[in-house]
C-alpha cells in the first residue's frame, strides 16, 4: 500500500498531467475525431521518439546530480557522421553502431572533464555544445549531408500511414525505456546512480567509485544521444548540422516535468517518458485545435514551472 502511494506521489503528478492534457484536446467535438485516433497517436509517438531517447540519457544524468546542455549538438554531430558513413556505403547496422559510438565518445569527453577535472557539468557541457555544433558543421562542410537512400530512412515511418503498425523507432524507444528503467531500478549501477545524486559524500564513503561512475553515466547517456541522432537522421533523410538547436531544453524539461529534481537523487524513467509525451501531445493537440504556435510555447513554459512547483511541495513534505 505504502509502496503504491509512494509511486503515485512520485509519478502520479505527471501521469495526471498527461491525462488532463489529452482530455483537454478531446473535448471539442471538431478536433476529437482527429485527435483521439490511433493514427494521430501513432504520429505523436513517432514525434516523441527523439526527445524520449534523449530523456533516457538525461534522466540518468540528472538523477546523478548533473546536467548536459550539449545534447542537441551531439544529435546534430552524430546525424552528420551517420549520413557521411551512409554516403560511403556503410550498411545500416554498422552505421547505427558507429553513431552510438560517436555519441558515447562525446559523453566520455564530457564525463572525463566533469569527473576528472571536477568542473561543473553546466559549464563543461555549455562548451561542448559549441564545440560539437561547430564540429558538425565542419564535418558537413556547412551543408546538409545528403545520400541516395538507406534502409535507415524507413525506421521512423511506416509503409501505410493509416495502418496499425508503429515505426521501428517507437519500438526501440519503448524497449530502451524499459531496459533503462530496469537498469536504474534493478541493478547495482542504477542504485549507485541514485546514491551519487542523493549524497555524493556518502556514496564515496560507502565505497562507490564516484569518478568512474560519473564517467560511465555521461558515456552511457552519450550513447543514447547518439541513438537519438540516428533517428533524427532517419526522420530528415539527411545529416543536418543545424538540427536540434535548443533540443536540450526540451529534453531537460521532459525530465523535470516527469518528476526529477535538478539537485539529484530523484527521477524515474516512466516519469520522463510521460514528460516527453506531454510535450508532444501539447504540440500536436494545439495544432489540431488550430492554436497558434506561441500558445504552445507559453503553455509548455507554464507546465514546466507548475510541475516543478508541485515537485518542490512534494519535497517539502518529505523534509
Amino acid at each position: 500500500m505504502k509502496e503504491i502511494s509512494r509511486v503515485m506521489l512520485a509519478k502520479g503528478g505527471p501521469f495526471i498531467g498527461l491525462i488532463l492534457v489529452i482530455v483537454l484536446f478531446s473535448i471539442p467535438a471538431e478536433t476529437r475525431e482527429f485527435f483521439l485516433t490511433y493514427n494521430n497517436f501513432k504520429i505523436i509517438f513517432t514525434q516523441t521518439v527523439i526527445v524520449a531517447i534523449g530523456a533516457l540519457g538525461m534522466t540518468m544524468i540528472i538523477v546523478s546530480g548533473g546536467i548536459d546542455l550539449s545534447v542537441g549538438s551531439s544529435i546534430a554531430l552524430t546525424s552528420v557522421a551517420g549520413a557521411q558513413l551512409i554516403q560511403r556505403g556503410w550498411a545500416p547496422i554498422p552505421v547505427l553502431l558507429a553513431m552510438v559510438a560517436v555519441g558515447a565518445l562525446i559523453g566520455l569527453l564530457n564525463g572525463t572533464a566533469i569527473a576528472g577535472l571536477r568542473m561543473t557539468p553546466f559549464i563543461i557541457t555549455l562548451g561542448t555544445l559549441g564545440v560539437a555544433r561547430g564540429s558538425a558543421k565542419w564535418m558537413a562542410d556547412n551543408q546538409t549531408v545528403n545520400y541516395d537512400s538507406s534502409p535507415i530512412n524507413g525506421w521512423m515511418t511506416t509503409a501505410d500511414p493509416f495502418g496499425h503498425a508503429l515505426p521501428a523507432g517507437v519500438w526501440v524507444a519503448l524497449g530502451l525505456a524499459v531496459l533503462t528503467a530496469i537498469l536504474l531500478r534493478k541493478t547495482v549501477f542504477g542504485r549507485h546512480v541514485f546514491a551519487l545524486g542523493s549524497n555524493e559524500a556518502t556514496a564515496r564513503l560507502c565505497g562507490i567509485a564516484t569518478t568512474r561512475l560519473k564517467v560511465a553515466i555521461y558515456t552511457l547517456a552519450g550513447a543514447f544521444f547518439g541513438l537519438a541522432g540516428l533517428f533524427q537522421l532517419s526522420r530528415l533523410r539527411q545529416g543536418d548540422p543545424t538540427v536540434a538547436v535548443g533540443l536540450e531544453l526540451d529534453i531537460i524539461a521532459s525530465v523535470i516535468i516527469g518528476g526529477a529534481s535538478l539537485s539529484g537523487g530523484v527521477g524515474t524513467i516512466l516519469g520522463s517518458m510521460i514528460g516527453a509525451l506531454i510535450m508532444a501531445v501539447l504540440r500536436n493537440g494545439s495544432q489540431q485545435m488550430g492554436w497558434p504556435t506561441y500558445f504552445q510555447e507559453i503553455i509548455i513554459g507554464l507546465v514546466i514551472i507548475v510541475a516543478v512547483f508541485l515537485d518542490r511541495l512534494r519535497q517539502g513534505r518529505q523534509a
Partner: protein
C-alpha cells in the same frame, strides 16, 4: 468543406503574409463557385528548423486534412513526411521551393533560376559590365534561394567577364538580425571596393540594406535584392535599393490552393506552374501592372 493546410517556411516575413492572403483569395473565389474550403495556416515553431516543419506536416497527416500546400524548408528533409502523405492519399502541392521527390501533386513557384538570372542581368547593366560584386546567400539547403544564387552566378560568369566576384560563400541565416551582422562584417571587409550586391531573399536584403545604411554606402553601392515588403519598398523609393526581383507570392498562395483543390476534385493539373517574376525599380514602381505585386492588397483577404 475541404480542409486545406497551408504551411509556410516561416510566418514573420512579409512574403508569407502575401501567400497567406493569396490562399484566402482562392478560398473566397472557390466559395462563389459553391466549393467550400477551410484554410489552416500553420508555420513551424522555430523558423529555420527542419524538424519542426516535419512535425507540422505529420500532425496534419494525423488530422487527415484533405490536402496540403507546403513551402518546404529543405529540398530533402521534407521528403519523408510528404511521401507519407502521398501514401495516405493526401495530395501535397509544393510552393515556392522545390522538393526532391516525384510524389507531389504539383509544383507552383517562381522560376527561381530565371529570377536569379534577371537579377544578374540587371545588376550587370547597372554596373556597366565592370566592378566588384558580393552575393549574400540565405542558408544551406533552401532550394529556392540556391537556384536564385546559381542563376545569378551563371549570368555573371557568362555575360559579364569584367565583373569580379568578391565574396559569394557567406550565409545570412534566417533572420534579419543574423543577416545584418554578417552584412556588416562583409562590408567592413569589402566596403571600400564593392560596387554591387545581390541578396537572395527578403531577410538578407533587409539585413544588407540596414548594414549599407549604417556604413554610409546606401545608394553608392548598387543593391539588387529579391522579394518586396514594406522595408524594401521604402528602400527602393529612397534609392537605397537599385532594384528588386519580385515574385508574385499572392498568386503563389492563390494557385497553390486552387491547384490542390483541383487535385482533390480529381481534375488534371500540370506538374509545374510558373507564377512569374518581374524586376521593379524606382521608375516602374508605380506601374499599375506592378501594384498587385509590390503592394498586395493583404487587408482585402486577411480579414
Amino acid at each position: 468543406t475541404y480542409q486545406i493546410a497551408v504551411i509556410p517556411k516561416g510566418t514573420t516575413h512579409e512574403f508569407w503574409k502575401s501567400i497567406h492572403a493569396g490562399a484566402h483569395k482562392a478560398r473566397m473565389e472557390l466559395a462563389t463557385q459553391g466549393i467550400m474550403v477551410n484554410v489552416i495556416w500553420k508555420g513551424p515553431l522555430k523558423e529555420d528548423d527542419r524538424e519542426q516543419q516535419v512535425q507540422v506536416v505529420e500532425n496534419f497527416i494525423g488530422r487527415r486534412v484533405d490536402g496540403m500546400v507546403l513551402a518546404p524548408l529543405d529540398r530533402r528533409a521534407l521528403v519523408g513526411p510528404v511521401e507519407t502523405a502521398a501514401r495516405g492519399k493526401i495530395p501535397v502541392v509544393i510552393i515556392d521551393s522545390g522538393l526532391a521527390t516525384d510524389k507531389i501533386a504539383s509544383f507552383v513557384s517562381t522560376d527561381n533560376r530565371e529570377g536569379g538570372r534577371i537579377a544578374g542581368r540587371n545588376l550587370g547593366k547597372l554596373l556597366g559590365g565592370k566592378g566588384n560584386v558580393v552575393m549574400l546567400r540565405l542558408q544551406v539547403g533552401s532550394a529556392s534561394t540556391e537556384e536564385r544564387e546559381e542563376g545569378f552566378l551563371e549570368v555573371m560568369k557568362k555575360d559579364f567577364p569584367g565583373i569580379r566576384l568578391l565574396s559569394t560563400d557567406q550565409h545570412g541565416g534566417a533572420t534579419r538580425d543574423t543577416a545584418k551582422r554578417v552584412s556588416e562584417n562583409l562590408l567592413s571587409r569589402f566596403g571600400r571596393e564593392v560596387n554591387g550586391i545581390f541578396t537572395c531573399n527578403e531577410s538578407t536584403t533587409a539585413g544588407m540594406l540596414l548594414a549599407l545604411r549604417d556604413a554610409g554606402l546606401a545608394g553608392k553601392v548598387k543593391l539588387v535584392g529579391f522579394d518586396s515588403g514594406e522595408t524594401l519598398n521604402a528602400g527602393l523609393k529612397s534609392g537605397d535599393i537599385a532594384g528588386l526581383v519580385v515574385q508574385n507570392p499572392l498568386n503563389m498562395g492563390y494557385l497553390g490552393v486552387k491547384t490542390v483543390v483541383a487535385v482533390i476534385r480529381g481534375e488534371k493539373v500540370p506538374a509545374q506552374i510558373d507564377t512569374g517574376v518581374g524586376f521593379v525599380t524606382k521608375e516602374n514602381f508605380n506601374d499599375p501592372a506592378m501594384a498587385d505585386i509590390v503592394n498586395p492588397p493583404l487587408a482585402k483577404y486577411l480579414k
